[in-house]
Point group: C2
């Protein structure tokens, strides 16, 4: 269904130099700052992810012939914003590991962690300003509002029994909103027409939704070594993601699931039994089918774009996100 | 030396309608957000200060004939940024009262307080984007970096024995940087020439420095009822402000001061003795003389501006900041 597995190196290749420029811009953040802040930034950048968001931004920008320096600023801003939100997220969740590496709050005081996150927000806004577009900066600020409002929702209400609709809203706020604004803004920098801008926003949105669904699937199907954190983490936090929701629709009376729904956090044995039950049911397949439907819609949006090397890489990026490590 | 006392109502008068527009813009922040977030924003806006920063912004904008709607967005952005930094500050300091009203963190979890601050940062950036100037947005982002870097410095090193130079750097980061960017950006929106923009940045800077010095004086000379928090709070936190620094220069061997310098926080009796000693020495007068020198430089910068109603109000605003409640 999804063809030959794609490796990230392939679709990263056409923007390899651009990605190096983005990395350099992110590292400039440390210049002239207090050494504690530099050390924290260094730690965060060194333990960084695969840079999927910058790749999405840069490939869209190249595909639509945007000015490379402005696109690099935008891509760095997007990744910096993402990093800043993770710093505060990990503090709030009390997470001690991310990608197998100790989080900032595992080593620092809450005060220093809050301020480091704030600094990275400010730096993200400054990087966004280097893209030199009021429209892009406004969309950027609005996306941060969506992300934070989603986190507040999650904090106050989204635990326990949620509908699939609630789930989609949550992962839009958490993940797809930033993918959407990345692709949309890159198109704006390419002076694309409004139809193209809207199509690329849709592409980013659909890819982001698929990415988060697959992330949520991996929380069931992967292992601690590959995840860099324990399996079943969402359930342990009382968060019901798509696989659990499909399972719950099939087995609404499941005693373990009901126990998790009623308690704010699950005991490890119940969590492990639910993880196994979800894996044994058709819930994983249903969730994966849904992720692939998002990717299919993303590909449709992409079909109207100029047929070039960068478009092919964007298509591969979308495929990769639903094929990785499954 | 400072002439007839000025009341805020006088210099606020020429921008009274503009201030109402700013207040409305700040309240729009609550629209469509989670009710917990709306309640927090409502609480923060209702317990808001005297709106000195918006008044500075609006008077500068009117004096230089900037477009009122863009100026109102800028003024709201400045005040929102200020509010956001206070939310995280109070959390970090564990402050339970501000302006006599319980802080957010006195009532909420740290997680909700962090996220509310984040949301207000995002909203501040969105409001800044409505001023429709990349230059203004960039200056705005850079100012947030200066503010947060200053807080990180304070967290890690600026306790205990500091020089006056350290003190000036700290209050620049904490207060004057935002006053400076407010006046500078309002001038940019008025399409002023670079000399005028630089003069108004200087005006904002000097007024902001004077404002913070007076705030630091009031922490010694005022009382709990007027401060809305206990007297001597800075010393209790191990922070040496200008009056204490002048006192220390005069009495370097003072046993109580030395005890405070060596401990991270002072016991209440020692703090009270030091507060009294600082009040009895010439330190308060020295600090006040310095604040007035900043105001005098601000007035000089203002002298080159168009002579109109708004310039006179800016002059009164500067006088008010060093005459209030002393």
């Amino acid at each position: 269904m999804i063809g030959t597995p794609v490796t990230p190196t392939e679709f990263f290749e056409p923007v390899r130099d651009d990605l190096a420029a983005v990395e350099a811009k992110m590292r400039e953040t440390m210049d002239g700052q207090h050494e504690a802040l530099s050390a924290a930034t260094e730690h965060l950048l060194a333990s960084g992810g695969k840079r999927v968001r910058p790749a999405l931004t840069l490939l869209t920008a190249r595909m639509l012939d945007a000015e490379p320096a402005r696109a690099a600023s935008l891509a760095a801003a997007i990744e910096m914003l993402h990093t800043a939100t993770l710093v505060h997220d990990d503090l709030i969740d009390g997470a001690l590991l991310r990608r197998g590496i100790p989080t900032l709050n595992a080593q620092w005081s809450p005060a220093a962690t809050v301020l480091t996150g704030d600094f990275l927000f400010a730096r993200a806004a400054e990087l966004a300003s280097q893209a030199d577009s009021v429209r892009v900066m406004r969309a950027f600020a609005q996306t941060l509002m969506i992300i934070v409002n989603g986190e507040i929702n999650q904090l106050f209400i989204s635990r326990g029994r949620v509908s699939r609709e609630d789930y989609y809203q949550r992962i839009y706020a958490k993940t797809a909103s930033l993918f959407a604004v990345a692709a949309e803004s890159a198109a704006v920098l390419g002076h694309a027409g409004e139809t193209t801008v809207a199509s690329m926003r849709l592409f980013g949105h659909e890819v982001g939704m698929a990415f988060q669904i697959v992330d949520d699937i991996l929380d069931f199907t992967s292992d601690e070594a590959r995840l860099g954190k324990p399996v079943g983490g969402d359930l342990r936090q009382g968060l019901f993601t798509l696989p659990a929701l499909y399972h719950l629709e099939q087995f609404p009376e499941d005693r373990d699931l009901t126990a998790l729904l009623n308690g704010r956090a699950g005991d490890p044995e119940t969590v492990n039994r639910v993880v196994q039950a979800v894996k044994d049911s058709g819930a994983i397949d249903s969730a994966l089918t849904e992720a692939r439907a998002y990717v299919a819609r993303a590909q449709t949006a992409l079909a109207a774009m100029p047929d070039n090397l960068y478009r092919r890489s964007l298509s591969e990026l979308a495929e990769y996100l639903v094929s990785r490590d499954l």
